[in-house]
């Protein structure tokens, strides 16, 4: 089999050079430092292929040998949420960051790890808090079991479209990085009362919409009513602007806010 790109890429354009500066950190306790690279790239290349090229020849611009850059990646097609990082200060997925535009504009690229999660090494951060948040709001349908019990509830196409959009959240963390109310917290004991963030609030809304999922609605709203819940949102609306999947996060926050107000009022009058 013949590789298609070999035939389609004109040789004259194939040796363009991208200037990259990467913020590195050897381990969680080490001080950060910057390293600069000049990387030859193919047309249409993305930032992941730049990091791959550095890994195969880890030499900085001034000729010093270094180690490959540690980074998280997975699907490389913006559906797994792994490769979130800061590119020229903006949070995004590295896989869908095509570099031609930067070369054309004569710009260098800076890459940094996310700042709202503890750095593990270089561009790898620990996003366990995000997954813990999903547990905090019980982001699941309370299933009786896997035995055959017939179909689930019917659903209108309109409701499906709303739920599908919410359900494409890949827990990448872009919305949390951009949020002024969300701050780095390495201590997992504190996660239950720190701001939970847009991604998780939106998942609570997703399951509150589902015919069976809403059985746990009160539990979810209870989790979102307390400290670190939906009321901690400062309404900066950065989340919705950086979401790579264009999920209507501010609508989710507004919906969850209304639901938790109703929940609080009901709770007040029922005396529970």
């Amino acid at each position: 089999m013949v590789a298609p790109d070999a035939a389609s890429a004109p040789a004259s354009r194939s040796q363009r050079v991208l200037k990259v500066a990467v913020k590195r950190q050897a381990d969680p306790a080490a001080p950060p430092r910057w390293e600069r690279f000049e990387v030859p790239v193919e047309p249409g290349a993305n930032l992941i292929s730049v990091l791959q090229a550095i890994a195969s020849r880890p030499t900085t611009t001034d000729g010093t040998s270094t180690t490959p850059i540690a980074y998280d990646s997975g699907c490389l097609e913006e559906v797994c949420g792994s490769c979130t990082m800061l590119v020229n200060g903006k949070v995004r997925q590295a896989c869908s960051c095509l570099v031609d535009q930067f070369i054309d504009a004569g710009e260098a690229i800076t890459i940094e790890p996310m700042s709202k999660f503890p750095v593990v090494r270089d561009l790898c951060v620990d996003r366990a808090r995000l997954f813990a948040g999903l547990q905090r709001v019980k982001a699941w349908v309370p299933l009786d079991g896997t035995y055959h019990l017939g179909p689930g509830p019917k659903e209108s196409p309109d409701d499906q479209e709303v739920r599908y959009a919410l359900s494409t959240c890949m827990s990448c963390g872009c919305c949390l990085e951009a949020c002024p109310q969300y701050n780095v917290e390495p201590d997992s004991a504190a996660w239950d009362h720190e701001f939970v963030g847009a991604a998780v609030i939106s998942q609570a809304r997703l399951f509150n919409m589902h015919g069976t999922g809403k059985v746990l609605k009160a539990d979810r709203l209870e989790a979102l009513s307390g400290r670190g819940g939906v009321n901690d949102c400062g309404n900066a609306q950065n989340c919705v602007q950086v979401c790579p999947k264009e999920i209507p996060l501010t609508e989710s926050i507004a919906a969850a806010g209304r639901q938790s107000t109703v929940h609080a009022v009901k709770k007040f009058f029922s005396g529970r």
């Binding site: 089999m1 389609s8 270094t66 490959p68 490389l76 797994c80 349908v141 017939g150 209108s156 196409p157």
Partner: protein
Amino acid sequence: MASGARHRVIVVGGGLAGLSATLRITEGGIPVDLFSIVPVKRSHSVCAQGGINACNEIARQQGYSEHEHFDESIYGGDFLAHQPPVYEMAHWAPRIIDLLDRMGVPFNRTAEGQRDLRLFGGSLYKRTHFAGATTGQQLLYAFDEQVRRVEAEGKVVKYEHWEFLGPVVDDEGQCRGIVAQDLRTMQIRAFRADAVVMATGGCGLVFGKSTNSVMCTGAAASRCYQAGARYANGEFIQVHPTAIPGADKLRLMSESARGEGGRVWVPRKKGDARDPRQIPDAERYYFLEERYPKYGNIVPRDIATREIFSICVHDGLGVGGGNMVYLDLTHLGREYLERKLGGIIEIYRKFVGDDPAEVPMKIFPGVHYSMGGLWTSYEAKPDFKGLRYGAPGSMTTNIPGLYAFGEVNYQYHGANRLGANALLSCIFDGLFCGAGVVNFAREQAPAADAAATAFDAAKSRRETQMKELLGASGTENPYAIGKELGVEMTAASTVVKSGPRLEQSLETLGSLRERYSKIRLSDSGMWTNQTLAYARAVGDMLVIAEAITRGGLERQESRGSHYRTDFTERDDDRFLATTIATFDPQTGGSKISFEKVETPLVEPRKRTYGKVEGGGAPKAVASPHA
């Protein structure tokens, strides 16, 4: 049994197969330790796009049935798949859809609120359920959510960012646990279990660029193979007809694009440089539709791939003279595309920059899926119509206690997988065969009480291997070797193969292995050392590549995805048989044998999909290496 509470099962891999197995096994009362290189929500199952097949009421009232689904899958796989497991899977499919529905998967809906259906390759009935064009993601998330629920109940312990290094096999030859490494601290540990389920997916990275995620190296399967597990049908690699080439990977453009009405074409005139929108219909060659009037653009993948390959490489009719054909959705309308295919439309826009609603997409085949994998047995019902539920002998490798589920399991897809059967086989393995794992584990003396010897030895072996890699002082670059391996495997062992080329490939693999013995790592640190993990995987990829290639060489016939220019016909007398590769520790290579496949439910028939010759079409694919 009093010790029941002390039983544990290890599941390696957190994609659909691993998560569904975890759910089923914990439901059976046994806690699970779940290992995954990536957080399980980021597993490769997210990349599946088109849908999941199952007989449904509308299709049924048109004459379709579970038996039809079974028959299509066997025919699609060119009769190489064992029939009882496929029969059981097809019959379980409707209840799996119902379960997914209960779990909250946002399946596309009709106006009435019913689950919508689409057409998919290898079938004339609409029997594919879908959630936009990110069905795999949606199914994975549903299982991720359910496993998080049981994790909150304390029934699952997740080991994310841990890599499986090998099974622990005791003196009796039974698997009693695994050795794994924390990819952050680099600590290596042995873990005990009463059964181990491998759910580690495919091996796309052996072919360099593929549609697979970066962790799909096949290293986990290779480590089991090197520990004595057989590897089956390795030479059957699915090359998906429609992918978009990229510098780092090939990005899939789902078969659903064709199922929803997308048309594949090239200009009839060689070298026609016009904008595709300016080429009138009569001057377009819809070669799949002309050659396969019955199935058209939804012929199975191996067939579509060979036709596209032939059009480009032999007829020189590829777009711009290169290796590209058009996949045209422009006639379908933007609103329809967004609703049914939004996910892939977005991928094309983001990575290519064109809008498929306006301009035909340019695509070419790319390595996508491994039909082969770890060899497993099964326990059939007496009449061969399905499997015995709860039988501990189903989907177990030849190492007792070591199971293989999902893509790493070679069952179900034969010589070619039908689109939208992969998600089904993963979930079926987890839910149906998970019950057998529970029954097996319950019968064992708890591994927690086993002597430490085997565990200590296995751990120590892996620590030594790591030290050797970190201290290696050669000159070879593991990334360069990995890249050359991919180029070679794609050239020799994908769409078109031949005996002489495969012989040559074995020599190339030998020299790559020789060079691998002289590598040096550019990172010798003991904290989150990704270079170590990659270099170690390259060694295992070289081993499995040899088994794939030798299987391809010894299978002197053409069947499904395996096409030999020197043996162009299917040969049921000699090769209606499973290829079994056994690792030879002396040579580091494979020994190949063949095990006859029985066909108790449907007899093999010629697999043509109603092809008509003509339309300026070449009659057969000729070797580019001749």
